[in-house]
């Protein structure tokens, strides 16, 4: 649906439900949500005097409301996307207020994942800003009895240059509201050279709140009369309650009752896992009560899941012929044998997201409607699962989006919001579900465990004449289809199908793996294990041939060209291939850029001091990274410096983009050093930051330098693409410093240093 349409219908709805706002305003609603939010889901933009489209509204006092329909989990998207509209509107940013949208299909896609918020909505928000600007100009021109072409705008004001007359946006709001909304073809977008904000950026509109404790996360949402719930989930995925004794739990001061939540019906998708909720007057009492529950479980089939055995299975599968995903050359030809054949196994375990804010949600079921407040990346997904779990139409579900204390993909899965909804319906009062860190670690949708088998036959210069790569991992699609065992095209396309090497013979395969836990998206997803295997194996081949890894990589990538995926299923992150082609020249450029900026040519690795390199395209963004490490004799690793070059097309907010790549290096550090979730007898063995550590300030790169390519290519992703090349470059640096190759992540489980 076009955001330009449908405004009048919403106005009509506003009339019907307007009274709802008064009811809720009397109660405690997080301050961030106070503006414009009520049970009818109307925004301040909707209610403004001049409201030409979904994303903007202008009041007579000149206040501009811009809707942020994507979720803020730290990428600054709540600022950057409205900034695009403000630029085309020629608005004064100081007079802009951000309206956080509820989940509502009228906004189009709201699932803030896949690093595509800017990419998917850049044009739309420019058009929405330009439409409002044109209407303001038209209103002024009418008032002055001059032609539109004689008028222009200057920061929140329409100007008639010839006579020096000026009218502020607020003064024009009423008149503009009476004009028809222009068609997209009538709009004249700004020239990039006239951009005021795009490409320059702005700090987060929430910055001061984030530094003063005033920012409101899902964890901070409250309603009068709410109770707190802590849920004991089945310890094994798919388990059910056999018996429950809650007598001791009910004796805990502050505990009110327990409620059983039904197990999910396979496939699990985003349904609650089931279990026993302890309902209490405060979070602490709920936690304490939960410890006193006596439950026996029917663990079900996944009780046999053991990570050690599973790893062996994956590896065996990786050594057998798999499903052909893509081939170059004669795919029926036997793979060469002999001493010029190199092979290696790579492995990445299950990874957990562990955003700093554990899963939490507040829900209120009242008068047949369900209202939720949650830190969610996916408010429409939350609406859908709530509607189905509670048994009401989607239209009767309102999902407010709070700030997210981290997301990394976990909060795209709204299972925890559905839990709050189910409990609120049962208890007929507002319920806040709070997960502990242990719940978060043990009941995640993990990034898939993956085994990669790599094989190359090389010529006398060490360059592959034949290349085979085979990955095996339980697919994300298994949460939607219990029989899914092969990688699906969108995830195989994440750095596997699209091997960018210019080699005569390539075979890319995938083997089957059954999931025994929930598998889900985690920052950069399948790119993590795919880039790790390809980029480290390439480094192995370079060293084996005594060639410089950067020079070797450029040789394998070959000349600048657009990769041809004719007859290959390559979804390209959902983007049109003509608009976002895979251009090896852009990968070469960032490689050359990072080599130059890091001083690669001058930096020679020595014992205990190494430089590693990797390059990868993901989420349509090209990244090359150099990591410097120092490794002590007992294997203690420091990371003095990281250099990373990025071509993400047009970048709206450069400092926020730099921050994403700085953060990606830290996220990648955690993965390499200690990222590992394991299961025994179907039970996840890790529980908190003691056994699933996140990198700390003394373990991360001292300095991450980010170089952003000036580009007029359409905007691509920045939240995720930094992780995959960092992980590989870090491992390659460890090799450069020690001669030891980390092929099985993480470092903490390896015996690399005895």
């Amino acid at each position: 649906m076009s955001p330009m349409e449908n405004v009048s219908r919403r106005r009509f709805l506003q009339g019907i439900f307007g009274a709802g706002a008064l009811v809720l305003a009397a109660r405690y609603v997080p301050p961030m949500l106070r503006h414009g939010h009520s049970t009818d889901g109307q925004t301040d933009a909707d209610r403004a005097t001049f409201h030409p489209n979904l994303f903007v509204g202008i009041q007579q006092d000149g206040t501009v409301y811009i809707v942020a329909h994507r979720s803020e989990m730290g990428t600054t998207i709540r600022t950057s996307l409205p900034l695009v509209l403000a630029d085309e509107l020629d608005a004064d940013w100081k007079r802009v207020k951000i309206d956080q949208a509820i989940g509502d299909k009228r906004y189009g896609d709201q699932n803030t994942d896949g690093s595509h918020s800017i990419r998917s909505f850049f044009d739309t928000l420019r058009q929405c800003g330009a439409a409002a600007r044109l209407m303001l100009i038209q209103a002024a021109a009418e008032q002055w009895s001059v032609t539109v072409s004689e008028c222009s705008t200057e920061m929140h004001t329409v100007v008639h240059k010839a006579t020096g007359r000026r009218l502020g946006y607020g003064e024009l709001a009423s008149a503009a509201a009476r004009l028809p909304v222009p068609k997209t073809e009538q709009l004249k977008l700004k020239e990039p050279s006239d951009w005021r904000y795009i490409g320059k950026g702005m700090t987060s509109v929430d910055l001061e709140d984030l530094c003063t404790g005033r920012a409101m996360y899902g964890m901070d949402a409250r309603l009068d009369g709410m109770v707190y719930a802590s849920i004991e989930h089945p310890p094994v995925f798919g388990g059910k309650i056999k018996s429950l004794d809650d007598q001791e739990a009910l004796k805990v001061a502050g505990v009110r009752q327990t409620v059983q939540i039904d197990p999910f019906k396979p496939p699990c998708a985003f349904q609650p896992l089931g279990g026993v909720a302890v309902i209490a007057d405060n979070t602490w009492a709920a936690f304490q009560g939960r410890k006193k529950l006596k439950i026996t479980w029917d663990n079900g089939a996944n009780e046999s899941y053991d990570s050690v055995e599973y790893k062996k299975e994956l590896r065996e599968t990786a050594h057998k012929p798999g499903k052909l995903i893509r081939s170059v050359g004669d795919s029926n030809k036997e793979f060469p044998t002999g001493k010029n054949v190199v092979q290696a196994d790579y492995y990445v375990p299950l990874l957990a997201h562990t955003p700093m804010e554990p899963m939490v949600a507040l829900a209120e079921f009242k008068d047949g409607r369900l209202t939720a407040w949650a830190p969610t990346q996916n408010p429409q997904g939350a609406q859908a699962i709530i509607a189905s779990e509670v048994g009401i139409p989607v239209e009767d579900v309102v999902c407010h989006v709070t700030l997210l204390g981290g997301g990394f993909g976990r909060k795209s899965k709204p299972d925890y919001i559905a839990e709050a909804a189910v409990l609120s319906k049962k208890l007929e009062r507002p319920v806040k579900v709070v997960w502990t860190r242990e719940d978060d670690v043990k009941f995640d949708y993990y990034n898939a465990v993956a085994a990669m088998y790599m094989k190359a036959a090389v010529d006398e210069k060490g360059k592959p004449t034949a290349w085979l790569q085979r990955s095996v991992f339980p697919p994300i699609t298994s949460i939607f289809d219990v029989n899914a065992v092969y990688g699906d095209p969108p995830h195989l396309a994440q750095g596997w199908t699209d091997l960018p090497y210019d080699l005569p013979n390539i075979r890319i395969e995938n083997g089957p793996a059954q999931a025994h836990v929930r598998i889900g998206w985690l920052r950069s997803v399948a790119n993590i294990y795919h880039a790790f295997a390809i980029q480290c194996f390439t480094d192995e081949l370079a060293h084996r041939a005594n060639r410089d890894p950067v020079e070797y990589m450029l040789d394998l990538i070959g000349p600048a060209r657009t990769l041809d995926f004719t007859n290959v299923e390559y979804p390209n992150y959902g983007a049109d291939y003509k608009t976002y082609p895979w251009e090896t020249g852009r990968l070469r450029n960032v490689i050359e850029m990072v080599a130059e900026k890091s001083g690669w040519a001058r930096k020679k690795s020595s014992k205990g001091h190494g430089f590693g390199f990797a390059a990868h395209r993901s989420f349509l963004t090209y990244v090359a990274t150099v990591v410097e490490v120092e490794v002590s004799n007992d294997g203690e690793i420091r990371i003095p410096r990281v250099d990373t070059a990025v071509d993400a097309g047009l970048v709206v907010n450069p400092d926020a983009t730099r921050a994403q790549f700085e953060g990606a290096a830290v996220f990648g550090t955690s993965i390499v050093r200690s990222g590992e979730i394991t299961a025994k007898n179907g039970v996840i063995q890790q529980s908190n930051f003691n056994d699933y550590p996140a990198a700390r300030i003394n373990e991360v790169p001292d300095q991450t330098n980010v170089y952003i390519t000036e580009s007029s290519a359409p905007p691509a992703g920045v939240g995720e693409p930094g992780v995959p090349p960092f992980v590989a470059a870090f491992c390659n640096a460890i090799f450069a410093a020690t001669g030891k190759r980390l092929r099985d992540l993480p470092l903490s489980s390896s015996n690399l240093f005895g």
Binding site: C211, E357, G405, A659, R696, I697
Partner: protein, 150 residues
Amino acid sequence: MKLKVNGIDHAFDGDPDMPLLWYLRDILGQTGTKFGCGIALCGACTVHKNGEAIRSCVTPMSAVADSNIRTIEDLGANGLHPVQEAWMEVNVPQCGYCQSGQIMQAVSLLKNNPHPSDQEIDDAMAGNICRCGTYQRIRQAIKLAAGKNA
């Protein structure tokens, strides 16, 4: 028992084992102090007890009787603290969830050591996890605040 929170006297007669964190958040409704791990591993819950940084998630109410507790809400109550100013200048936060704890820890560090070395910053801040990975900017902001004699 009695205690002072951000300069205001409070009386508490609930479970003495309840951690200060949940008293602040659920009873007083002061939500600037965050829950991250519950076992003093992440530092998101850092507050000051009589001027020193503590982890409120493992500090029972019985241990704060007659104490003076200060939280992030009070730090900038009368104008931003220099550490908060530095945080804004460097644009430290991403999601921001850990930053209350980071800031309270940094304030405590600079109080005891106005000009910390890189190593001293790492040592003092190693108990505070930031999953977004803002550490580089945290270091930078602490140095900036130190320069301003926070």
